[in-house]
């Protein structure tokens, strides 16, 4: 453990262990020894991309200042961060099969529910997530014929929001969309791009918001389902806590929160109740009765 790895030399066993423990403590993500080669390569890329030339100096800077640029690059290297239609689709399965039926039941049933079912996608980026939710509801959730559903997308970045509003996508974004849905809801707009049907575009409300800002988040209320995937992992301790608190405030008691599949509330905040669904863990805002 006395040797300090320089870029390109790979990590020593002790360095790998230190890094593995840090990343587990910080994110809850565990890398087994089988991932050693992958982790070594990606950390090497992070060190090369930084102003540091050894693992020791890079790791010290990462830990000491919780520097967001170093951390962002690290997470980008170690996780898949790409948005496309029907990404992590098992969570949408979970929403249709388990979560929405539970929401309807908790709110009095299909025939007695008052007000719309509200779904929030945050961050919504260029729109793939909220529009995926819309497509799956329209195609695969029959109760939508009898009740109102509001879908909201929100992001801090006005550029991605304007792209989301335009809703035209290339092949890469659409690769998982079944041909039948593509024919039905998208029309070619040239340059290999396809624009989403105006009816769906118009039905999804887009907002610019910073999830860490309590004052703007206060306007989001009574959501039954929130998707907040692959963003909290990038925040420092206090920002992720405040974001979680703001999401809690945006949800109806008993409402459901989906995080990205490698993210865990266990590193962020204890205010939600983890709940096991057949498709995985989801978080619920406690109802008064659970307190």
């Amino acid at each position: 453990m006395t040797s300090a790895a320089t870029a390109g030399a790979g990590l020593s066993d002790a360095e790998f262990e230190k890094f593995r423990e840090y990343f587990y403590k910080r994110t809850g993500i565990q890398f087994t020894s089988a991932k050693r080669y992958f982790v070594d390569k990606r950390i090497d890329a992070c060190i090369r991309g930084s102003k540091f030339d050894t693992f020791t100096s890079w790791f010290a800077a990462l830990r000491l200042s919780d520097r967001s640029d170093l951390l962002q690059e690290l997470i980008n290297q170690l996780t898949v961060n790409e948005t496309y239609f029907l990404r992590e689709d098992y969570q949408f399965d979970s929403m249709l099969r388990t979560v929405l039926p539970a929401v309807l039941e908790a709110r009095g049933g299909v025939n007695r529910i008052v007000g719309p079912v509200k779904i929030l996608s945050l961050p919504c980026s260029t729109g793939e997530e909220p529009y995926s939710i819309a497509l799956r509801l329209l195609e695969e959730w029959p109760p939508i014929d009898r009740i109102d559903v509001e879908i909201h997308g929100a992001d801090i970045d006005s550029d991605v929001l304007s792209k989301a509003g335009h809703a035209s996508y290339g092949e890469r974004s659409l690769q998982r969309v079944p041909k039948k849905w593509r024919d039905k809801y998208f029309s070619p707009v040239g340059g290999g791009r396809f624009q989403l049907d105006e009816g769906i575009r118009g039905a999804v409300t887009l907002h610019q918001v910073n999830v860490c800002d309590t004052n703007t988040m206060r306007a989001f209320r009574d959501f039954d389902v929130v998707f907040c995937r692959n963003v909290l992992i990038y925040f420092d301790e206090l920002s992720s806590r405040r974001a979680a608190e703001n999401l809690y405030g945006a949800m109806r008691p008993g409402g459901y929160l989906f995080l990205g599949h490698s993210e865990s509330m266990s590193r962020i905040s204890p205010i939600f109740t983890p709940t096991r669904l057949p498709e995985g863990i989801v978080y619920q805002r406690p109802t008064g009765a659970n307190r």
């Binding site: 587990y24 809850g28 865990s264 509330m265 266990s266 962020i268 905040s269 204890p270 983890p274 709940t275």
Partner: protein, 130 residues
């Protein structure tokens, strides 16, 4: 006696404590998994049926007592034995552990022999390591 190994979840924010308890219990034939705080333990217990929990007290996000209470509540509802091991030895700490639903409360450090003996006692009849 069944053929399934006894499954233990070691819950502690200190990596060295997890390593210590995990290596002692693994050598004794238990199948050990780890969680770094009470909340992660609750999440793990929702998806895996453990035969024993070894739980620290002072942990971020969710302390040991709250963790044990949640394991016993309808959120998880596990009947598995819980051994709490803590650095705290103030009056009332053990009572708090039992009130939360722990089966046994011990103060650190716990010797290898004692940890394994207690783990066997608490899991008697639940698998091949017992």
């Amino acid at each position: 006696m069944t053929e399934t190994p006894v499954k233990v979840l070691v819950v502690d924010d200190a990596a060295t404590v997890r390593l210590y308890h995990t290596s002692l219990l693994s050598e004794a034939g238990f199948h050990v998994e780890e969680a770094a705080n009470g909340l992660e333990a609750v999440e793990s217990a929702l998806t895996t049926a453990y035969d024993l929990f070894v739980v620290d007290v002072n942990m971020p996000k969710m302390d040991g007592y709250s963790c044990v209470e949640t394991l016993r509540s309808e959120t998880v509802g596990t009947p598995a034995p819980v051994l709490m091991i803590s650095t705290e030895d103030r009056p009332g700490d053990a009572d708090r552990a039992y009130a939360a639903g722990a089966n046994l409360y011990m103060v650190k450090p716990v010797s290898a022999e004692r940890l394994v003996r207690v783990a066997r006692m608490l899991t008697a009849g639940s698998g091949i390591a017992a």
